[in-house]
Structure formats: structure tokens, C-alpha cells
């Protein structure tokens, strides 16, 4: 094995194991199953250790042997290694012994976990010869592709449902990307994007680059394990849209165990979706083998509103096999979840974060999640992107005159005992 030989052999069908070269492929031509990266774990084991990881900069590329790029990192060198926040006040509010928040609201550069997948996808896209990239997105991915493509000097076409939050639309336009609003659901956008990928020869990160792209999510799991002191938690609660992240967090834990970087420990993986679009949670609750797609998602949680999630069967299997479960709180619970996290920990999450907090509350109340364990909440995007969700929660800001008398009079009207979080 030379230094330049990639630590991955190629791609492999997750369903039928058929092998493919590490090219621009994502579907098995024999059975239509998804292709996954096939690593040389023996060679990786010789190259990676806690010491090598600790000697590297604090970004997601400290685990580079477990990411599918052949050469140097050319896009997103500073992504990842977000804080794992010990959330004592939130833990008390939820009735859980120990809670950590994996805070990807401050992921660089576009304030969501999607920067992890995009840095891998665009670095690999360049290796494969693309200078134009794109995606189908519910918002965060579009923001990340637009931002990272701008920094890399690549052309970006991002496709989104036209009714997304203003912050997510502007958050793509501002980087100079071609933003294509589509009249329809995310699933309509995704289907269009699949056809575009076949026609224009672009690198669509979550279509024809998907096997590489998806691996980037593992870094969230690697970081959780490292930041807990090279330990796996008892439970992780993660939001689900397409269902990829939840699978990759579990895969990250399994890879760290396989490579001897952490001791094996049963980490239960829990998934959260919004009540108005919860096809994967429905699968778990109904013990179904196959997903029943949702035609018209109805929820404020637009970032998770995927009615026909590509990884649904694998996400459901991850929850089942690890002893986890799924929950699907209402929009009202989601808004309360956003406020609870903000008021307890000073972290402003987008709607998907509110769903994750609210789902955790439900899981504790139903006894599905052991409150005596160490629980990690994956908070995947920043609240300033979805301000609309909480805008009506607060009174309109009124003004006082700039006098001490007015200030003191105003203070009299306040309930100073008000404490949102116990």
C-alpha cells in the first residue's frame, strides 16, 4: 500500500454487494440498490489512531482516512468539530441524568450539518473532474452547496421548493448560486434533480455523488465519540429527513469500534420527524417493512419535509437494531422545543432542532429512552434560518423614551421572576 493509493476500493451495492469502480455512480445497475463506499479497513487500521487524530487540526478532516476522497482536501477544509455542549439545564428540564448537545448550528460555513457532506462531495467532485455542482434541497443543503462552491470557485445550481423560509432562500442567493425554485414538494424537486443529473453532466451532490456525499455525515458521529472522551453515548437522538444522517451516525460508531478507537457499547439511536411528515417514524411505530410515502407534507419543519425518504428502510433498521425508537412531535411541541433549548442552553436551533428536543421529551415520557443514561441530541441547523417558526411567539417590540423614569416604569411592568427553564 502506497501513500497515494486510496483507502477505499470502490463502491458496492448495499443490497446485492455488486462491486463498482469509484466513479460517478450511485445506483446498482443490477438491482437499483444504493451504492456505498467500500473501504480497506485493514489499511485504515494501520494509519489511524487516537494520536494521529489528536495531532490534527480541529475540523472534520481529522478523520480523513474514513472519508472517500483520494487526494488532498480542496473544499471545506475548516468544516466540523463543532462544540459538544454539556447541557445541564436542558437535562434537568427533560428529566435526563446527562444530556449533551452536538451543536451543528455553528458548523462552518453555512450553519448546518450539511457542510460536512458538502465538503466531502465537492472535494470528490473535483477529483472526478466536475466544475459545476448542484443539489435538491429543503434549504440547508442548498445553502451549503452555494457557500462551499463559492469558496471553491465552482458553479452551483441549487433546486429548492419555492415556499421555503426567506432565510434559506437568501442563504443560497447571496453566494451567487443559481437558485431554482420549484413549484412543488421536496419530492418533486428531488425527482426533477434526478433527471437533471442524467442530462447535464453536473455533479449533483445528493444524486450522482451521493455515495461520497453521504459519508460526510459520519464525522458528526466520530466527533461525538471523541468529544465524549473516546466513548460511545447510551443514546443519540437525531432528526430525520431523507434518513441518511441517522444511519451514518451509527456507522461512525461501528467504524470506531472496528478500528479499536472506542470500546464497544450499545448506543441506542433514536429518530425524530415532524408529525406532519413522519414516514420513517411511522414505519417504526407500525413495524412496517416498507415506507408509506407522504404526498403532501404539512409542517413548519420544512427542512425535514421529505415525503419519500431515500434511506427510510435503512433508517428504520438502524433504530430497530440499536434498540432505539422514533417520535414525531407536533408543530406546537416543536416550537416549544426550540424555545426550551434556547432558554436553557443559549442555542438557537432551526425547526429540526425543535423536533429533536420535543421528540426527546416524548421518548422520556413514554419510557422508550432511559433517563439514567448519557444522551446526545444532534442539533443540525441554526434558528436564524427559520425565524418564521417562532416569530409569532413573542410580543411586538415596543419602545420607551430614553429616560431613566421610563425605564424604571417599564421595569415595574415586567415579571422578574420569569424563568423559562427550571
Amino acid at each position: 500500500m502506497t501513500e497515494t493509493q486510496p483507502l477505499f476500493k470502490g463502491l458496492k451495492c448495499r443490497e446485492c454487494d455488486k462491486a463498482f469502480p469509484a466513479e460517478v455512480l450511485y445506483v446498482c445497475d443490477a438491482c437499483f440498490g444504493p451504492l456505498e463506499v467500500d473501504y480497506r479497513y485493514d489499511a485504515i487500521a494501520d494509519r489511524i489512531s487516537r494520536e494521529t487524530i489528536l495531532s490534527r487540526a480541529a475540523n472534520m478532516w481529522r478523520y480523513r482516512e474514513l472519508l472517500p476522497v483520494a487526494g488532498p482536501v480542496t473544499v471545506g477544509e475548516d468544516v466540523g468539530y463543532t462544540p459538544l455542549v454539556k447541557a445541564e439545564r436542558l437535562a434537568r428540564a427533560l428529566g435526563i441524568r446527562e444530556v449533551y448537545v452536538k451543536n451543528d448550528t455553528v458548523n462552518y460555513p453555512s450553519l448546518s450539518f450539511k457542510d460536512r457532506v458538502v465538503s466531502v462531495a465537492l472535494t470528490r467532485a473535483r477529483e472526478l473532474g466536475f466544475d459545476t455542482v448542484g443539489c435538491a434541497s429543503t434549504g440547508n443543503l442548498a445553502n451549503s452547496v452555494a457557500a462551499n462552491a463559492a469558496h471553491a470557485g465552482m458553479t452551483a445550481y441549487v433546486m429548492i421548493p419555492s415556499d421555503l423560509e426567506l432565510g434559506k432562500v437568501l442563504g443560497s442567493f447571496v453566494f451567487g448560486a443559481h437558485v431554482i425554485g420549484v413549484d412543488g414538494t421536496y419530492d418533486n424537486v428531488n425527482r426533477l434533480c434526478s433527471e437533471v443529473a442524467g442530462q447535464h453532466g453536473w455533479g449533483i451532490v445528493n444524486v450522482n455523488l451521493r455515495p461520497y456525499y453521504a459519508e460526510g455525515s459520519k464525522t458528526m458521529g466520530f466527533e461525538i465519540a471523541e468529544q465524549l472522551g473516546w466513548k460511545l453515548p447510551d443514546a443519540v437522538v437525531t432528526p430525520m429527513a431523507g434518513g441518511s444522517l441517522i444511519c451514518k451516525i451509527d456507522k461512525a460508531f461501528r467504524e470506531f469500534v472496528k478500528l479499536g478507537l472506542v470500546d464497544d457499547h450499545p448506543a441506542r439511536i433514536y429518530g425524530a420527524q415532524a408529525a406532519g411528515c413522519s414516514p420513517i417514524v411511522n414505519m417504526v411505530k407500525e413495524e412496517a417493512d416498507w415506507v408509506r410515502p407522504i404526498r403532501d407534507p404539512k409542517t413548519i419543519v420544512k427542512s425535514l419535509a421529505i415525503g419519500d425518504p431515500a434511506d427510510a428502510p435503512y433508517a428504520a433498521a438502524t433504530m430497530r437494531q440499536t434498540g432505539g425508537w422514533g417520535e414525531n412531535p407536533t408543530d406546537e411541541e416543536t416550537v416549544a422545543g426550540i424555545r426550551l433549548l434556547a432558554e436553557c442552553e443559549g442555542i438557537f436551533a432551526e425547526t429540526a432542532g425543535g423536533v429533536t428536543v420535543a421528540a426527546t421529551r416524548r421518548l422520556v415520557e413514554s419510557g422508550k429512552l432511559d433517563p439514567d443514561g448519557t444522551v446526545v441530541l444532534c442539533i443540525t441547523g441554526h434558528g436564524l434560518k427559520t425565524k418564521e417558526a417562532v416569530a409569532d411567539e413573542f410580543r411586538t417590540l415596543s419602545a420607551i423614551r430614553p429616560t431613566l423614569a421610563d425605564f424604571n416604569a417599564y421595569l415595574e411592568t415586567l415579571n422578574k421572576e420569569q424563568v423559562a427553564c427550571p
Partner: protein, 91 residues
């Protein structure tokens, strides 16, 4: 009924590179069976061993997912367009 069927990239090696082929039948299932009969190898790709359409194959009739209609029994009419799309994308 004559229906245009859009072929996804991974299957175009079975249609001599053609993006669309013509099929006939009264239902979605019949049209797909018809194009399988005229293009060798297509049946094995689209159907599992039990004779059902594979779970990672999505079929759209005029932009509507047939799972929201009557599945393979959904009726077709002249000039309709069927699209065969790999399920594994997005998210």
C-alpha cells in the same frame, strides 16, 4: 394504448442508449411488461425474484407517483408518459 417510457441512465445500456422507449398496454404494469418483452435484460433489472417491481424502483405516470394511485394497476391512456426513476436519491 401507446405510452412513452423514460429510461433512467443506469438502464440505457439496455435500450441502445435511448432516453425513451414506446410501450403499449392498458395499465402501468402492462406497459412495463411490454417494454421488458422488447428489451432483453430489462425484466431482471426492474422486477425481483417474486415478480414484484423492485423496492428501489419508483414509477411515475405523468409526474404522479403510482404509489399514490393504484400502483401497477393504474390505467394508462394514449400519449401518457411513464418515468422509471431510481428511488435512491436526495435527502
Amino acid at each position: 394504448m401507446s405510452v412513452t417510457v423514460r429510461i433512467p441512465t443506469p438502464l440505457r445500456n439496455l435500450t441502445d442508449g435511448a432516453e425513451t422507449v414506446e410501450g403499449s398496454g392498458a395499465t402501468v404494469g402492462e406497459v412495463i411488461a411490454d417494454i421488458c418483452a422488447s428489451h432483453q435484460g430489462l425484466r431482471d433489472r426492474l422486477y425481483d425474484d417474486g415478480g414484484a417491481i423492485r423496492r428501489f424502483v419508483n414509477v411515475f405516470l405523468n409526474n404522479e407517483d403510482i404509489r399514490f394511485e393504484q400502483g401497477p394497476d393504474t390505467a394508462v391512456k394514449d400519449g401518457d408518459e411513464l418515468s422509471i426513476i431510481p428511488a435512491i436519491a436526495g435527502g
